[in-house]
């Protein structure tokens, strides 16, 4: 992405605050101007002494006291307004990113890891603060003030203005001269920090395996190398910055030197009053100070733009499913029909599902079986509308599911997948996410059906126990039962289990199946399972192979009549 595009994207977010921004630029201008006015006044007075001018010295002192106070006050308002603008935009951006990600999920293919996304939302986003708070205003103010000083110099003598202009340009050239190296170094530093961070995360999260394999020390060494590389990159960056400083210091010294020489020369030809000399030197220092500020900003540019690009990319994550339907699905579900459905994952050529047709009706308990990659999970994704079929359609109660609003349709489904996520909050809150506002009694009832009530009661704090990081303290089977409880609480008319019982031990699975039978009633139940015990009792089995439905029937029918089923699902004939 070009810088221009990035800047214009960033400006879009500034639009609603543009008058606020103008105000801030004016304030910033006054704030930067006051110290120059003070210095001008003082050096003018000092010059005046040599000229022997008579001046109102009490008024002079009073003016300076007022100016000093004004400067502090404008500093105060400037700092407040620039940050207020920046942080207002940042929170708007954070909200927008979340909303976008919510709509875009799941991101197929090479999506970013969630840790990366969070790092963009916290770290990169804070770099944008630099852009909104400290870049635009300083840029405008630097240009305006430099022009003012130059015209004053021109008024004194054109040569002085030319001299100052020359060195200002020379100073600004450093940005061009060092730009490429600076970007490379910045990139190198961030890259190495990324690697360092990855090793750090592994050390903390992989502790168990590292300890078991006595690999802690060795992994620590790897971390050490990552630290070395990072330090090396930082040092390289520091040395480059040192060269930049050396360059600008040279320019500044030359500016002073040339001013002295020109002044002494002009004096000889008496075109210029030396009484202005202290003023000139002081104003030079003011310009340099302002340029320094501007340069320290621009040294951040490469990081700011890189970060902005990542933020903008996140704001433009493609959305896989459009929410265009206008009907609100009110249920309950009577029929679900797949009509010649094709689906190909983005970036692949072979369809994952090829011309699939089948139907489900209320009260049915249907199992989907097939090898990994046969398209079972894709079917469920399509039902959930995580993706839409490229060809064919899915009808619910006789209407294409795309006619319903996403929200109302998803509300009609309860899906539990193998890795259903438990959120970092209490067990009770996790279950309650199935139906916000459910009573404690209802939550416990759902947990009982899911065979989760007993072990929850055994937790140290019962239903108030916090689910730990990545749910480590809760076993796989317990985690699945909690998510089943959540789905049951949701009480929708279509229940889908995608390997939802895979980690349950057999005793619990049996109890769960019995409880589920009572619960299901007139609901539609679709499940994917590998374990034969979980599919034996289904009313009907849909047997998938290579994206096609090859057979359907009861367990007995299929195991008697279908040799492929016996081979692939029952594992016969493989030794």
């Amino acid at each position: 992405m070009k810088r221009f595009e990035i800047i214009s994207s960033l400006f879009k977010y500034l639009h609603s605050l543009r008058w606020y921004m103008v105000l801030n630029v004016v304030i910033c201008f006054v704030y930067e101007l006051i110290p120059m006015a003070s210095l001008f006044l003082i050096s003018y007075v000092i010059g005046g002494i040599i000229r022997g001018a008579v001046m109102n010295y009490q008024g002079f002192l009073l003016a300076l006291i007022i100016l000093t106070f004004l400067q502090a006050s404008f500093g105060y308002i400037n700092m407040w307004t620039e940050h207020d603008i920046a942080y207002r935009i940042l929170y708007k951006l954070r909200q927008d990113i979340y909303a976008r990600l919510e709509r875009a999920q799941p991101i197929f293919g090479k999506g970013m890891s969630s840790a990366e996304i969070v790092s963009i939302v916290s770290n990169d986003m804070n770099l944008l603060e630099w852009f909104y708070a400290h870049t635009i205003n300083i840029f405008i103010v630097t240009v305006v003030i430099s022009l003012m000083i130059l015209s004053f110099y021109f008024h004194l003598h054109p040569l002085l203005a030319l001299n100052a202009l020359l060195w200002i340009v020379g100073y600004l050239l450093s940005a061009v001269i060092f730009k490429k190296r600076s970007e490379e170094d910045g990139h190198e530093v961030r890259k190495n920090y990324g690697i360092l961070a990855r090793f750090g995360v592994d050390l903390v999260q992989g502790l168990k395996d590292l300890l078991t394999f006595n690999a802690w020390r060795r992994y620590l060494q790897r971390f050490g190398i990552a630290v070395d590389n990072y330090d090396e990159a930082k040092k390289k960056d520091a040395l480059r910055r040192a060269r930049e400083y050396m360059y600008t210091l040279c320019i500044v010294t030359l500016l002073t030197l040339c001013t002295l020489i020109i002044a002494s020369h002009l004096k000889i030809s008496s075109e210029f009053s030396l009484a202005w000399l202290p003023t000139l030197i002081s104003l030079n220092a003011c310009i340099v100070k302002l340029l320094n500020k501007f340069m320290s900003m621009s040294s951040q540019f490469s990081s700011i733009f890189a970060a902005s690009e990542r933020v903008i990319n996140l704001l433009n994550v493609p959305i896989s499913v459009e929410d265009k339907g206008g009907l609100v699905f009110e249920g309950p579900i009577e029929t679900v029909v797949f009509e010649d459905v094709y689906y190909t994952y983005p970036g692949t050529s072979e369809p994952q599902i090829k011309g699939l047709s089948f139907s489900l009706k209320k009260g049915e308990q249907v199992a989907l079986v097939g090898e990994s990659g046969s398209g079972k999970t894709t079917i469920i994704r399509l039902i959930q509308r995580y993706a839409d079929p490229q060809k064919g359609r899915i009808l619910v109660n006789g209407r294409d599911i795309r006619e319903y609003t996403l929200e109302s349709w998803r509300n009609a489904l309860s899906v539990v997948s193998q890795h259903t996520y438990l959120f970092k909050r209490s067990v009770e809150d996790n279950i309650a996410m199935g139906r916000p506002g459910a009573s404690k009694e209802e939550i416990r009832q759902a947990a009982k059906i899911a065979q989760a009530h007993e072990f929850i009661e055994d937790f140290p704090k019962g239903y108030d126990t916090e689910v730990g990081e990545r749910a480590l303290k809760i076993s796989g089977g317990q985690r699945q039962r909690l998510s089943i409880a959540r789905a049951i609480l949701k009480d929708s008319s279509f229940i889908i289990f995608d390997e939802a019982q895979s980690s349950l031990d057999s005793a619990n699975e049996e109890r769960l199946n019995m409880a589920m039978n009572d619960f299901l009633g007139n609901r539609v139940f679709l499940s994917i399972a590998h374990r034969i015990s979980s599919i034996q009792n289904s009313h009907r089995i849909l047997f998938m192979d290579k994206g096609c439905l090859v057979a359907s029937g009861t367990f007995e029918e299929l195991s008697e009549q279908n040799s492929l089923f016996r081979e692939k699902i029952l594992g016969e004939g493989q030794g």
Binding site: A72, V118, L196, V204, I261, A285, E499
Partner: protein
């Protein structure tokens, strides 16, 4: 001006680096002072004598030149200092993470731990490398300048001193408020970050739940709260900044103004006035740097509290060394071991088991019975305090834990995949394994087809949490690690229940190969895997309910029969088929 004991505690071992930077920064400031002193002499000479003093001009250039030359040294020493402080801290934290061990990382949010290790330490660096040197410079060079000016005009010096002291002392008063509001901002970021991560990771699940809308509103409210808390913090910062400006304005502008006022009244001569005009700026240069550094350093200050707390977390030590019993026992012995996690009830109560050499031992029981905890204890991962664990002449204790762990290998339920290449993930178990060896173990652990599918073969990066790999594949990778390790004891925390038939068979085959001539301990979730075990321990609520081989248990333990019966009705078709 903020130097406290906690901050010095964190910089332990890096003081030399901090002093070095401070010195060279102060030296540069001193050269700058001389440079402007010279400049003032040149200017007043030019104005009064109308001639450019060449030697002075050369001195001016020489001072500028020296400062330019020193720049690389200043910056590289600053970088070194920061690097040293951070490295030192990270090493101490990692050491702590290791000694605290799994009981801590289980309890604490490991996310918070690595933010502490990475970002927080990063934020602390500039405090030592920039703030302290700036403070040192102000106290030496700037104060020195003021003393010099005192001899020209005392009142001017007093005004300067007032401004300077104000800048230095001000943080002592604002610090408290900055700290508390800053901490709130950090906390808000942490909360937002961890909630955001949580929701993003769980987004697939969340989108199916009616809570989706509520959560969206909640996280957006959190984003707004960050703005609010930041602006609260900003209130303090801006007021502080106002006072900073006022003090530095007093010191650097009003002092000169007063001197000029005296000049107008004829009390100070022209050349002295020019001198004051120039060196006051030079004197307040470092003060400006200090004010800027203060904000950088402050970020670190708010981080320092959490790091200090972590480094001072109380450690739970494993029991200390004991002598193994005189009569040599065969097999690994667990004697009267009880254990509880840092919070909560006992997970194991007075458990004794024996893992016989070269045989298969199994732990069975319902989830939550303590069988996984027991295996982790045997692996030396938890600091057990009650009871004894030993094997021949080796004992498991605080002192001998590493040696103990070198004799075992384990396949855990959810093996962790490091963010490295597939190959490096195997090398975790044996650093110097040859290519042949690797291929052999890949073959043996039935990973060949997995590796063949990887775009760059065994050099493929496995990605965050091994996202590319299924549970079954990860377990096979862990088995491959065990092959490389060639340990005497293998712990196998079975996860076969979440796998399809094909994966399950592969794992079983690989495990059989692995366990040849080794002591094997299986934490079993299905009875079928352990019918052939030499000895089976049935656990319930952290106690051993029964033990014996499959046949014996069927005869003597009604609990075992019950467990079996419950499973029998669910036994998968192929197992039944196999027996018929």
């Amino acid at each position: 001006m903020l130097i406290n004991r906690a901050l010095l505690f964190l910089a332990r071992g890096s003081k030399r680096y901090i002093l070095r930077v401070s010195f060279v920064v102060a030296l540069t400031a001193f050269l700058n002072l001389i440079q402007f002193y010279t400049l003032s002499k040149i200017v007043s000479g030019l104005v009064q004598e109308l001639s450019l003093d060449l030697p002075l001009l050369l001195l001016f250039l020489a001072m500028a030149f020296l400062q330019i030359l020193l720049k690389p040294l200043v910056l590289s020493w600053t970088a070194n200092c920061e690097a040293h402080v951070k490295r030192n801290l990270r090493e101490r934290m990692l050491e702590k993470i290791k000694t605290l061990g799994l009981t801590y990382t289980d309890d604490a949010r490991s996310g918070a731990l690595y933010t502490l290790l990475l970002d927080r330490v990063e934020a602390l660096g500039p405090y030592y490398s920039t703030y302290i040197p700036a403070l040192f410079t102000v106290l030496s060079v700037s104060v020195g300048t003021i003393i010099y000016i005192y001899f020209i005009n005392a009142t001017t010096a007093y005004i300067m001193l007032a401004g300077l002291l104000g800048v230095i002392i001000l943080p002592l008063f604002t610090y408290k408020y900055l700290w508390s509001t800053g901490k709130e901002v950090w906390a808000e970021y942490d909360a937002f970050g961890s909630d955001f991560l949580d929701l993003i990771q769980g987004m697939q699940t969340l989108k199916n739940l009616p809570a989706c809308k509520v959560e969206k509103e909640k996280i957006q409210a959190k984003a707004k709260l960050i703005h609010k808390k930041t602006m609260d913090n900003m209130k303090v910062t801006t007021i502080e900044n106002f006072l900073f400006e006022l003090f530095s304005g007093t010191g650097s502008v009003l002092s000169i103004a007063y001197a000029a006022y005296c000049g107008l009244k004829g009390e100070i001569g022209f050349s002295e006035l020019v001198l004051i005009l120039f060196i006051v700026r030079s004197c307040f240069g470092p003060v400006q740097v200090l004010m800027n550094a203060w904000h950088l350093g402050f970020n670190g200050l708010s981080a320092s509290g959490k790091i200090t707390d972590f480094l001072k977390t109380e450690e739970r030590q494993m029991r200390s060394y004991f002598d193994p019993p005189a009569e040599k026992s065969t097999g690994l012995q667990v004697e009267g071991v009880s254990f509880s996690y840092s919070t909560g009830a006992r997970v194991l109560k007075d458990v004794s088991v024996e893992l016989e050499d070269g045989k298969i031992t199994a732990f069975v029981g319902e989830s939550g019975s303590g069988k996984s905890t027991l295996s982790s204890l045997i692996a030396g991962l938890y600091p057990y305090r009650e009871g004894k664990i030993y094997w021949g002449s080796d004992v498991l204790s605080k002192e001998s834990c590493e040696n103990w762990q070198s004799k075992l290998a384990a396949v855990w339920q959810e093996p962790y995949l490091f963010n490295l290449s597939f190959k490096d993930n195997l090398l975790i178990a044996k650093e110097d394994a040859s290519e042949e060896e690797l291929h052999e173990v890949i073959e043996k652990s039935e990973l060949k087809d997995v590796v063949d599918k990887l775009p760059q073969g065994i050099n493929t990066l496995v990605g965050e949490h091994g996202a590319r790999f299924s549970g079954g594949e990860r377990q096979r990778l862990a088995i491959a690690r065990c092959f490389l390790r060639d340990a005497e004891l293998i712990l196998f925390d079975e996860a076969t229940s979440s796998l399809d038939e094909k994966n399950q068979k592969s794992i079983q085959a690989a495990m059989e190969r692995l366990a040849e001539n080794k002591t094997l301990c299986i934490i079993a979730h299905r009875i079928s895997t352990i019918v052939n075990a030499h000895k089976i321990y049935l656990l319930e609520d952290g106690c051993i309910m029964a033990s014996g081989n499959h046949q014996e248990l069927i005869k003597n333990s009604p609990e075992y029969v019950e467990l079996l019966a419950r499973q029998a009705s669910l036994v998968s078709f192929d197992e039944v088929g196999g027996e018929i």
